[in-house]
């Protein structure tokens, strides 16, 4: 009687692991080919409030699981959509009637897999853009502990050959953000910010950008529309900045 039960300790976990493996390989598949043009248009139109999709400008694989589709509507609006491959199908994660750059991330905001996408109105004639990762300079003194946070202002410049496109988040940005998050996490000891948060708001990361015309002047976006749309993915706003909001801009080339 005793001996029979001992086998259970080996057999039960083995069955569970095998069942799990079978389920995983049956349900979770590698990305299949992307949707047809008709499918794409259909799915976008279901979400798109302002008219209908007239032209798909591009189908761009950001990586093997994320596809970015800038499009133009029949009302001359330039919008964006993106799909992510989840388990066994392509899932629509965002439709926006605005082409202003946004940061999208698959994988719950993992800094390794984030992309900036945009679809500006061609009439705005933007030649290049500079994107920024910023964080406020901060100091904090509490219970004898001093914390200094340097101002972060990292930039990445990109020329626009077309009015739509994408860019992977620069590696330096994700390295710094990950390091910062790790350094702030208290050991499972005193949660540093339990009382502090109310009195000492922590600085946050922010994304920004400045568009330029071919005369190297800051572009005024008259035609590109503001943010609106749906998103079930993780999108972060990229604020359009004024050069006067940047530090040390006299040193910039």
């Amino acid at each position: 009687m005793h001996k029979k039960w001992k086998w259970l300790w080996i057999v039960v976990p083995l069955i569970l692991v095998t069942a799990g493996g079978l389920y995983y390989s049956a349900v979770v598949k590698n990305p299949g080919s992307f949707l047809s043009q008709d499918r794409i248009i259909n799915e976008i139109n279901k979400q798109f409030r302002n008219g209908e999709t007239e032209e798909i400008l591009d189908i761009e694989y950001l990586d093997d699981r994320n596809v970015f589709v800038p499009f133009r509507s029949n009302k001359d609006q330039y919008g964006m959509a993106y799909w992510e491959w989840r388990m066994n199908e392509w899932e629509l994660m965002m439709v926006s009637s605005s082409g202003n750059p946004v940061m999208i991330s698959s994988n719950e905001g993992d800094p390794e897999n984030q992309f900036i996408v945009w679809n500006l109105h061609p009439d705005d004639e933007v030649e290049k853009a500079v994107f920024y990762l910023t964080m406020e300079r901060n100091f904090q003194v509490s219970q004898g502990e001093q914390l200094y946070t340097p101002r972060v202002q990292m930039k990445e410049e990109i020329g626009f050959e077309k009015s739509y496109g994408s860019m992977k988040m620069p590696a330096d940005w994700s390295t710094y953000m990950k390091s910062y998050q790790q350094a702030l996490a208290p050991e499972d000891g005193i949660p540093f910010d339990v009382f502090n948060d109310a009195f000492f708001p922590q600085p946050h990361f922010a994304y920004g950008w400045i568009p330029y015309t071919n005369q190297n002047e800051v572009a005024e976006l008259q035609h590109t529309r503001g943010q609106s749309g749906f998103s079930s993915g993780y999108t972060e706003t990229i604020l359009q900045l004024n050069p006067s909001e940047l530090e040390s801009s006299s040193e910039e080339s």
Binding site: F139, Q146, M154, K155, Q182, E187, E245, E247
Partner: protein
Amino acid sequence: MFSLVESLELILGWSIILFIALHLYRKAENLPSIWKVAIAIAVGLFSFSINIPVAGELISLPILPLGVWALNFFLRKRERSWERYRPFAWLGFGANFVFLILALLAIPLQNLIYPEDRLTTYVSDTENASLIVLHPSADDSAALDKKILLEQLEISNQQAVQSEEWYYDTVMDHEMEDRNERFPYQLAEVSAKWGSGFSPLVFIEEDGQGIVVMKEAEQKYFRLEHSILQRGES
């Protein structure tokens, strides 16, 4: 990052519990079943505890043996069962004290192997060290001199972080266009001493002779004798 002292705590703690459990098991008159013993110990572990800050750590002090009481309640109809498993439930509760003592001992041990006042504790493996420029006021042409970095790690001396002074130095009387960030570089791809459990963020001062190390929401500042930055032609 992996913490050596924490792992030793866990291994030693559970070894002690296991040792006592074996002892109790052998002494037992009618052999209790092993998996019920394990459950009794696990349940006995539950307690109402309060967390007390000790030397920057939170130590958990058990007050009420909730697990033991719960087991007692569920087994109150079966006196024989309760008598057999009661010592193991108390062992479970006692385990909390074992870990408490080990946690207290770990504090000086951690500081002995990984002294908090030495830069080498936080910046140890510099083989793949690289520079990330964080602010436009940094010298773009600056490169990291790894040889000098290695030497200077030993010679560094700790000073106070003067967060408020540094902040106002940069901001006061300087408009946005001509602000120079005091710590415009990150020293990336370095790791702390193996087993320390730290994943620090390391900033380099613009003169290449200051290092701020940040870990677990704390910062330490070290000054070096020579700059670790090589200036190129600017």
